[in-house]
């Protein structure tokens, strides 16, 4: 996934990757990644829970909008902080 993101970024398309394993993110270094605390198979949290899924997506979109980030930006998702 990081390799796809890198190619898109090289061609001017900003990306944000949902990332399930920190170990992999630190090795591959996607440009912008939201590190989520969910098991594999559940990248956007809970099935049939649109609010929880949207909270993850919103946090990811906010990384795209954050001008202070620098690559590689590996940011933890914290649902508690978002209320």
């Amino acid at each position: 996934m990081g390799l796809i993101a890198a190619e898109l970024e090289r061609h001017g398309i900003p990306t944000v990757v949902i990332q399930l394993l920190r170990l992999v993110a630190e090795k591959v270094r996607p440009p912008r990644a939201l590190m989520v605390p969910f098991p594999h198979g559940y990248p956007l949290d809970t099935p049939n829970d649109p609010a929880k899924q949207m909270a993850v997506i919103e946090a990811a979109l906010e990384l795209l909008e954050d001008p202070a980030l620098e690559p590689p930006a590996l940011v933890d998702f914290s649902p508690e902080a978002r209320g």
Binding site: G2, L3, E9, I18, Q19, L21, L23, P30, P43
Partner: protein, 160 residues
Amino acid sequence: MGDMSEFSLPVRAFIKTYRWRRIDPVPWAPLKKPLSESRVGLVSTAGLTLIGQKPCSKEVKGGDPCYREIPWDTEVSQLVENHRSESWDHTGVEQDMNVAFPLDRMRELLEQGRVGSLAERYLSFMGSVTSPGRMVRDIIPLACDNLLRQEVEAALLVPV
């Protein structure tokens, strides 16, 4: 955080010893305009295809790097999950494809005005490509051209 303890010992050992391709230098493209004015694309590695669409092969050694196009207005009930890996729990995706391929959430972002428009076609890879040479050389550039032709201005990438 997704946790290594989810996996069997052989899978854990693979993840730790696999020669992951390090992106260096790390490229960086900032948004050119607000998301509310931008066209947003979606890329998945959950191995999803439309009913009747040929899935990526589960037999290709090192993983099939192919991708399929999924129109933005597809209903999740029209998707089939074909991912070859048994190292993750498929139950959630079977219950609600949006948990890995958020077709409904993307349409809601559009309805809310959070994004300006959506790509006409999203890209669905299978992932689990352990020999990514051909993927990097041939397929990812095709996928990139695909999104550029669709004038995608930001992309959300969701693994599984």
